[in-house]
């Protein structure tokens, strides 16, 4: 239910952007979904496919790029991807690190074919 609203926001954005490219066929839309965004990529893709079925965007594919949770080290300032909830800095071992990314839910690109 949650993913359906997101899928329809993506489609709305594609529709708006497609108007800037009259006559072009929109082939692919890329989105970035962070591990902490609370969005299931599979459910999102399923919703998206259901939404475009039978419309002018029938052949538009949704490409989901999953991005990891990222933390920054309070000691050496390095930013790293967190795997398996290991939150300590892989460089210096510092355990105080801060979450700086991974909750993104963003449109990233549109691929169009111009005649």
């Amino acid at each position: 239910m949650h993913e359906l609203g997101i899928a329809s926001s993506v489609l709305e954005a594609v529709r708006a952007e497609a108007q800037q490219h009259p006559g072009a066929r929109v082939l692919r839309v890329g989105v970035r979904v962070g591990e902490l965004a609370g969005v299931d990529p599979e459910a999102l893709t399923f919703c998206f496919e259901s939404l475009v079925k039978g419309t002018e965007f029938e052949f538009l594919a949704l490409v989901v790029e999953s991005t990891p949770r990222r933390h920054r080290c309070s000691q050496c300032d390095r930013t790293f991807a967190v795997v398996d909830y290991k939150l300590a800095c892989p460089d210096c071992g510092e355990t105080v690190t801060r979450c700086v990314g991974g909750d993104e839910l963003e449109l990233s690109y549109l691929e169009v074919e111009t005649p």
């Binding site: 997101i6 926001s9 954005a13 490219h21 609370g38 963003e106 691929e111 074919e113």
Partner: protein, 142 residues
Amino acid sequence: MSRVPLERKILSENDRIAAELRARFQQHGILCLNLISSPGAGKTTLLERTLEGFVPGERVAVLTGDIQTDNDATRLARFGFPVRQITTGGTCHLDARMVDRALADWHVQDLNLLFIENVGNLVCPASDDLGEAAKIVILSVA
């Protein structure tokens, strides 16, 4: 074939409305708190105990979200402060637009404190900004 960059947030509409709400709360000096927890962890109970402690006439109000029922609103209305139910009709969390709509015919400027009880669910309510100053997470530990 060409690739057109499209860098923007997908749910930017929610963030936009939430930012408007936040500005409104700040302008009128209203503290807005968004209570989240898994189902049944005690949001309504905590609000009942809190409202109990306020003197009549205190400028406090509650919005309470539920997928279907208005049980929580009935429990909270007993204390004499304005309470309004937001029934999401199947949606698993409140969004900024629902809050904005629920406040539309209220004199928000008359409030000092606004509590929002989110839908019992710890997944999506954690990410939707409602314009609150802070979220309160209630955890039930055995």
